[in-house]
Amino acid sequence: MPAAVPAVSTRSLTVAVIGNPNTGKSTIFTALTGMHSLIGNYPGVTVEKKIGNFRHQQQDVRLVDLPGTYSLSPRSLDEMVSVEVLLGRQAEVGRIDAVICIADASNLERNLYLVSQVLDLGLPTVLILNMWDVAQSRGITIDVEKLSQTLGIPVIPCEAHRHRQIDAVKDAVLSVAGKAGVESPRVFPAVFYEEGKQLGSQLQEWGEPDVPFYVTERLLLDVGGQIESSFAARFSTRLTEALAAARERLKASGFRVPAAEAKARYAWSRQVLTGIMVVPQQQQVTSSDHLDRWLTHKVFGLAAFVLIMFVVFQSISTLAAPVMQLCEAGQQIVGDWVSSLMSPGPFRSLLVDGVIGGVGGILVFLPQICFLFFFIALLEDCGYMARAAFLMDKLMTKVGLSGKSFVPLMSSFACAIPGIMATRTIENRRDRMVTILVAPLMSCSARFPVYTLMIAAFFPDMAWAGGWITLRGVLIFVMTFFGAFVAIPVAWLLKKTMFRGETPPFVMELPSYKWPSVHIVLLRVYESARAFVIRAGTLIFATSILIWAASYFPGDHTELNRLQEQVDETKVSLNTEISEKAELEKQKSKLSEKGSAPELAAIEQKLAAVESKLEPLEALITTKNAMSEHLLETSYLGRFGKTIEPAVKPLGWDWRIGVGVLASFPAREVIVSTLGTIYSLGGDVDEADSGLQNALRESKWPDNRPVYSIPVAISIMVFFALCAQCVSTLMVIRRETNSWGWPLFTFTYMTVLAYIGAFLAYRLFAFLL
């Protein structure tokens, strides 16, 4: 093939990428654009918009990734967005200069269905035959040259996961972009195109000029489709009647809508591939099938599913723990360092208590979030998620949903926002609504910090089976699935009352198992870690400062600052004693494990001697803490907290927790930073202690009873498992359902559920323990 001269233009070219699900579309996208892609939403809708860039032969190319789809006949909003982008009607993306259509070489006949629809758009197109190696290993041969001639577009075989042929793809894109589009393959009989033309002129008469041919085609073919409904608002019944009449005429000449489309497109696909593709006759049993014999089995499959989930959550808690401790130590060091640089005063308090105590307290959980997303991305990329959906379909039908709801609900375990967005693949409206409404009950990553804090502070570090099973790991696992467990009756109830209807049919592709791509998995982790840090830096940062201000003012802090200075000075002068004490305590705890009585006694004697020298410091700190405690209680936040205390007392909470819960309305994890700020200001966080966990353990009611006990910790965890404290989720629900009513409903039902749940949990465990 002669190398085409690229159409070098000064503006950047916009190229859309489309393909069936499971064709390795995202692998090609990242292979073309590298790490840096921009993820956002299309205005007004929450379909993910992914844009990346590359530069090839001095030409900038902007790549738009469209959601994986089997067809361009828009029945869901997801598919509608793809069609709008391809038609150049998405203002943010603009005109499309070329389309890269990705097909699975090992299943080309079906993939050509979508290709034929893309060709109907009349845009310059490049066809990529991905998974070329898989096709070859199955003995499939395809004459690429001839296919390219027949279709009239460049065709490139590709193995994206090995980064082969990526430059050839770039060359091909530049060779077609901006040129004349392809000719539509004309898969339908002539009468159909005649009707299409008539409909076009009819629409022009009604004041709708320049309707692309593809739109009229879809209007005729999709009975009650998305495009028809988007037009219906303007033309009311006129259009529906015209379409019905046109379809009636088509039927009279032997073209039955909608059945005829599939027939015509597949006939075209078969005709194109005759003499080009040879497929061996017998169906092969693949290694995927051998795995599936176990993993989709009624009993073993379910057991494997539970085991996989258990291992995932167990490893999150085991792997993340040491990294978290490092982060906590780092937070401590930074706090101490800032304290040592500044003299006591409001600004130092803002930095140390507000920013480092608040935002730092939440950033500590970054490792956990990363591990969670790592495992979810791993399960998704290797193909297991579809099997899980298959296994769960049986359970889901019991509550009136289908396996289709499983993947959105499963991704809600990372975050409810992508989960709710993923419900767009559910065509049945009632199912989609129920899935959206219960998705926030799935334990998202924002609950992790709350669970981890409570569990680490109040449950002993016990381990069984040689350290493989830990009490804390088990508790995290239980809390994670608690919300899902509650979601079962909620979904059932919603399906029985507000969204009555039959269980819709269910069909889903089970992709072959494959080794997960390291690149894709790490990219997912990176993207979610970034989102988490940004959230901590903006929303949580702002809330932290507000909470700090409300708990710092209006008290007079001059006396406290004077005391703090004294404490700092005494600490410097007693520096050797302080480090001596720490060293002795370390030795003591080491010895008490082994247990040598005389040595232990000697150390305790030394310890007592050092402690007596440190006594003036201790006294100073006690006075200082009492004063800061008093200042906190008389602050705006303290007064407010005291007012609401009666409402939260039945749950076993004191006013601080109550305030923390209210302040965490924008995002659940804010509770951790709020408690961090409150206890840091209250003086309970002694620099020698390991932060918030100890502060919680040592927090007291006025009558000296400890505030936190295991029932209180459980009550807090249950509340956070069930509450809807996440503004972003509520906003997404509003956008998805297009009404304020549903987010309001979600918030109300979840808060009521959370309050009752926390109350019952507190009473039950207070009674049991």
């Binding site: 089997y70 067809s71 006949s73 029945r75 090992s106 299943n107 006949e109 079906r110 269905y113 199955r138 009975v223 909608p258 059945a259 489309e261 599939a262 027939k263 597949y266 169906q283 092969q284 995927s288 099938d289 599936d292 989709t296 009624k298 579809a386 959906a389 298959f390 379909d393 049986k394 039908t397 289908s402 396996g403 065509e427 039959e502 269980t503 819709p504 049919p505 269910f506 069909v507 889903m508 592709e509 089970l510 992709p511 072959s512």
Partner: protein
């Protein structure tokens, strides 16, 4: 030649799709995903939902009364 509803196929049985009938939206969706008249199929795991091998891809399906898929059985492996 024996034509049966897809649900009647047992694990391992092979056949060819004879006809799809039922709610238009679901039938079109099935066709788009490759389950259409004339394609050879093999039941990989019977049940509801079942796993079906269609042209070297695996589809998971559950049927409701509204939709019927008829299959010509080719070979009985029982």
């Amino acid at each position: 030649m024996l034509v049966v509803p897809l649900e009647m196929m047992t694990t391992g049985e092979q056949g060819r799709i004879h006809a799809l009938d039922g709610s238009p939206a679901f039938v079109v969706r099935l066709q788009e995903m490759g389950l259409r008249e004339g394609v050879p199929v093999q039941m990989v795991r019977a049940g509801s939902p079942c796993i079906l091998s269609v042209n070297d891809q695996r589809l998971s399906l559950r049927f409701e009364d509204s939709t019927t898929v008829l299959v010509e059985l080719l070979k009985c492996t029982r």
